[in-house]
């Protein structure tokens, strides 16, 4: 792939985007979505005012945290599909740490909650890792099962022990005291702490994977696990570490959802960011440098799609359709390139 010139690469990317647009129009038009107007509504709904930009950034933070984290297990060729559950567990642990401070607390309490969320996410990821390493359960199934279990725990807490005094409903637990909210950026709905955390996560993952021996060995484990065992690189320990680091970052994403977006625990606390992050990392072809930008684009789509039911009477899941179609188109175009090259070599 590296042999192609930059121009050719851009050309292929443009082809993928064109294909994505075409496929989206094919599925969306018959459902009553006029293409141009829909795109206009989507983007206007995402960027037309500062408050919307704030919401986009608020979505960008957890998405970037999860996507950056996912690159660590992917380096070792592991599918951490459980990242969604790890976000939820992070949110649960965060809420648990805050419960004794119902009447308010300071920076120390928030730091405690952040640490708890990292521990929660890492713990949930460790479970999937242990099942894989010692139980031979494929991480796709353990991760996925644990996602649903995490959701079950949230529902149980919201309707059971942590229910709001008087009412227990899908609207979640009692809202946090305002002193426990993360400080906002100006009057936007995004917290500057969250932005700093997300940027720091990208830098951290870059350093870990590309500037340390640990990252080098992790790549070796991914490339050839058998050789890694022979060279005493400790693949098992490394796999567990990869899972836990990713889970920790996902847990942090859950904490930002609790501390700066919803200010309480609710069933939909993860907003599906875990699954979207898997799409982001595949879309970026596992290149960290692309992750923040794709996350930004996906976040604009998510925020913009809220306008679809209001203005065009369409379901907001169109944003998910577009995201999926884009990643699928990229895979199709990659496959076509491969096929064409093989044909050329065969001639």
């Amino acid at each position: 792939m590296n042999r192609d010139s930059l121009l050719a690469q851009i050309g292929w990317l443009a082809l993928a985007l064109l294909l994505a647009l075409l496929l989206t129009v094919i599925v969306a038009w018959p459902a009553g979505a006029p293409p141009l107007e829909t795109i206009y509504v989507l983007f206007k709904g995402g960027v037309s005012s500062w408050s919307k930009v704030g919401r986009v950034l608020a979505g960008w933070v957890p998405l970037t945290l999860c996507s950056a984290g996912l690159l660590i297990p992917f380096t070792a060729r592991l599918w951490n599909i459980g990242v969604e559950g790890q976000v939820i567990m992070g949110a649960i642990f965060c809420t648990a740490a805050l419960r004794p401070f119902e009447d308010g607390g300071g920076t120390g309490v928030i730091l405690l909650a952040l640490a708890a969320s990292v521990a929660g996410g890492a713990f949930w990821a460790l479970l999937a890792g242990l099942l894989r390493v010692f139980g031979r359960v494929h991480e796709i199934f353990s991760g996925l099962g644990l996602n649903f279990v995490a959701l079950g725990v949230t529902l149980w807490l919201i309707f059971g022990p942590w229910k709001r005094p008087g009412v227990a409903s899908m609207s979640g637990t009692k809202p946090l005291d305002i002193s426990l909210w993360l400080p906002r950026l100006g009057n936007l709905s995004v917290s500057w702490v969250g932005l700093v955390l997300a940027c720091a996560a990208v830098v951290l993952v870059y350093i870990l994977l590309h500037r340390t021996k640990w990252g080098l060995k992790m790549r070796a484990v991914g490339e050839n696990p058998k050789a890694a065992t022979l060279f005493a690189l400790g693949p098992r320990r490394r796999l567990l570490q990869a899972f836990m680091l990713c889970g920790g970052l996902a847990g942090l994403a859950g904490a930002t959802q609790v501390l700066s977006v919803y200010h309480r625990l609710l069933p939909n606390i993860s907003s599906g960011y875990g699954y979207t992050a898997l799409l982001v990392s595949m879309m970026a072809s596992f290149r960290l440098s692309l992750v923040p930008f794709i996350c930004l684009f996906f976040a604009v789509l998510n925020v913009g799609s809220i306008q679809l039911p209001l203005q065009l009477n369409l379901d907001s899941s169109l944003s998910g359709v577009i995201q999926g179609v884009m990643v699928l188109s990229l895979f199709i175009v990659q496959g076509l390139r491969l096929w064409l090259r093989q044909r050329k070599e065969a001639d």
């Binding site: 079950g152 059971g160 169109l318 998910g320 995201q323 999926g324 496959g335």
Partner: protein
């Protein structure tokens, strides 16, 4: 006794879509292709089946639409995975998410609308028979469909030449290629056939087991459970079907458990099958872990038991085969 018979009838009904989906995936995986898109596939075909049957007022046309949608999604996976050489796991996962969102997007106008369902079939003369009558006398057509599918898949896989070719391309594509079998084409065909069965499973949900369409429909997650059941059933159609009924029994007993433990909120029981899924996979896979094998080897009884219990995935599962590279 009557309660017992009715419970069995309920399990057969709840298990029917799972059986169809697991048999479909078994066919696909036997050919060496992993179709990870089951969960979204079931949802999209459930939507298509309901929308089609509501529009044309014909539930059987709806089932056909469901099968077509399932086959189309599997076909996309087949073409991108087999001919364009992309990761089957990655493409399958993308297709899951894409189909799920597509189902909610396209099904928007059919949400909570009235529509026909498949109803019940009455077998003449069977209704009066004491035990069997309660189970089979008046059942949903999807139950008969699922039972027929079990018998047919077993017969096809182990008693026909087509089935032999199927197993050959999944076990040893090179050898099959050497015998003149067009490996990629056969694989694509079973991808489509398996996908069609998965589509029928979707139709079975929205037209029989949980009639109607909405967000959520109630079959979310079923595809993932089906994927795990295929492993649990060791890629054998009869055993996978038993696994599907086992999980359906758990779902049905979940309703009883809810009555027994009213203090536990109802939504918690909906996720109950998932820890069970992890535990069963753990139990199945533990047999291949070193220290467990050591213990089994030392006890003749366990050894005999493990021979009946041991499972092997199709040897070339998830592996590419490129005929140009030859033998």
């Amino acid at each position: 006794m009557d309660t017992f018979a009715l419970t069995i009838a309920a399990i057969l009904m709840a298990g029917a879509p799972l059986v169809l989906a697991t048999l479909g995936e078994t066919l696909t995986e036997k050919a060496g292709i992993i179709n990870l898109s089951l969960d979204g596939s079931i949802l999209l075909s459930a939507m298509a089946a309901f929308a089609c049957s509501a529009t044309f007022d014909s539930p059987w046309l709806g089932m056909a639409a469901g099968a077509a949608v399932g086959a189309a999604i599997a076909g996309a996976l087949g073409v991108i995975g087999i001919f364009l050489g992309q990761s089957q796991l990655a493409v399958g996962f993308i297709l899951t998410l894409l189909s799920r969102d597509l189902a909610y997007f396209l099904g928007h106008n059919f949400s909570r609308q009235p529509g026909p369902d498949l109803g019940l079939w009455t077998v003449p003369g069977l209704g009066k028979t004491p035990f069997v009558g309660l189970i089979f006398g008046s059942q949903s057509p999807v139950v008969y469909l699922s039972l027929a599918a079990i018998a047919f898949s077993w017969w096809w896989m182990y008693r026909t030449e087509g089935g032999m070719r199927l197993r050959a391309v999944g076990e040893s594509p090179r050898a099959a290629f050497g015998r003149g079998i067009r490996v990629r084409l056969v694989r694509l065909c079973y991808c489509l056939a398996g996908g069609a069965l998965v589509g029928l499973a979707g139709g079975a949900y929205s037209l029989a087991v949980k009639p109607g369409w909405g967000r959520p429909q109630g079959c979310e997650g079923a595809g993932w459970i089906a994927l795990a059941i295929v492993i649990f059933g060791g890629w054998h159609p009869v055993r996978t079907a038993l696994g599907a009924f086992f999980f359906a029994a758990l779902q049905v007993s979940g309703i009883y458990l809810q009555e027994l433990f009213p203090s536990i909120p109802a939504p918690v029981f909906q996720v109950a099958p998932f820890p069970m899924m992890i535990l069963t996979l753990l139990a199945v896979n533990m047999g291949r872990v070193g220290w467990v094998q050591d213990i089994v080897r030392r006890h003749p009884f366990l050894k005999a038991l493990s021979r009946g219990w041991s499972i092997e995935a199709p040897a070339a599962l998830g592996q590419d085969f490129d005929p140009k590279k030859g033998l």
